[in-house]
């Protein structure tokens, strides 16, 4: 299993870097084994370097940069071993408009790997969905599902319907 771990580590490292570049339009990211001699026990460092910046501790990254780095690692793992479905709860909240666009573009490419359920308040994320469910509390304290739409031009209406309901 040592060989399996090392092979997986190397593939994930490679894929993580590729997804990261597609989000940041350059830069690099990687996973580093703290103790190379002992891969089955060693901790792992994550380094991320957005385009043009210095390589540094991931804690210095901004809120949006951290979210995109985390999504890169998650999607890299799915590209290697897809999970049947994935629920993402408002992961687009820290992202600016430009990064929401990049996120939804990459998400679209993942559709043949996994099924995604995305909770969001952002109109652009709604528009990339194949189906849209509105949740409402018409009766205070009691949740109901309002409607299902299968194309994007009604994203706006479903959120508003859920609001008004």
């Amino acid at each position: 299993t040592k060989q399996l771990f090392i092979d997986t580590f190397n593939t994930l490292n490679e894929t993580f870097n590729q997804v990261f570049k597609s989000f940041f339009g350059g830069g690099k990211a990687s996973l580093v084994l703290v103790d190379e001699n002992n891969p089955l026990e060693s901790g792992i460092e994550i380094v991320a370097q957005p385009t043009g910046k210095r390589l540094e501790n991931i804690d210095l990254l901004s809120g949006g940069e951290k979210a995109l780095t985390a999504i890169s690692l998650l999607f890299a793992s799915f590209l290697i071993k897809p999970t049947p479905f994935c629920m993402l709860d408002e992961i687009d909240a820290p992202l600016d408009e430009a990064n929401i666009g990049r996120f939804t573009n990459v998400l679209r490419t993942m559709v043949d790997k996994s099924q995604f359920i995305v909770i969001t308040h952002n109109k652009r994320t709604m528009e990339t969905a194949d189906a849209l469910y509105g949740v409402t509390m018409e009766e205070l304290g009691v949740s109901k599902i309002v409607s299902v739409r299968f194309n994007e031009d009604t994203a706006q209406r479903t959120e508003e319907e859920a609001m008004v309901a």
């Binding site: 951290k66 897809p82 049947p84 359920i117 909770i119 509390m137 309002v146």
Partner: protein
């Protein structure tokens, strides 16, 4: 394998029986603050065997049972059904012949809990065994909770090994 249907009854703010059919691709769930979106994610995590009330934002597991409103009495039971389809070939031996799998979890106010696979009573361990190679389950990155996306980058180097082990 994919998620085809979710039925929620008496779980958190879903007092009445609610059914959600899922298509392949991307499904967006929208609605105002506090309407019950994250409760849907909690329902899936709970049905997959989550044992920590705190992860489901409660103090004790009874907190997931519908607690009543000004006009509705509290319920005595919470139930969630998850339907997985296109499962052929992805299940461990012993579950081989099923085309679809339905996982059911119930909790009564008395504290008693029940688990079912395709309506046959089973233990939590059976559900865990069923899902062991599927990539879904309470501990994998199938569910990213609200505000917790950064956790995958986690602060401790040894905690980060999980993402490699899940991908192997």
């Amino acid at each position: 394998m994919r998620l085809s249907k979710l039925e929620i009854l008496g779980f958190k703010s879903f007092c009445d029986k609610t059914t959600i059919v899922f298509q392949p691709g991307i499904t967006a769930v929208v609605g105002p603050n506090g309407c019950g979106k994250s409760n849907i994610s909690d329902a899936i995590q709970w049905a997959l065997g989550e044992q920590s009330a705190k992860t489901l934002r409660g103090e004790k597991m009874e907190d997931v049972i519908f607690n009543g409103t000004d006009n509705r009495k509290p319920l005595g039971m919470a139930e969630v059904n998850i339907m997985l389809t296109d499962v052929d070939g992805q299940l461990p031996a012993g579950f081989g012949e099923y085309k679809e799998i339905q996982i059911t979890r119930r909790l009564y106010r008395s504290g008693e809990s029940e688990y079912y696979i395709n309506r046959i009573p089973c233990r939590l361990k059976d559900i865990r065994d069923l899902l062991i190679d599927s990539g879904i389950g309470a501990k994998t990155h199938t569910i990213i909770e609200q505000g917790k996306m950064d956790q995958i980058l986690s602060s401790k180097p040894t905690d980060r090994r999980v993402i490699i082990e899940e991908t192997a």
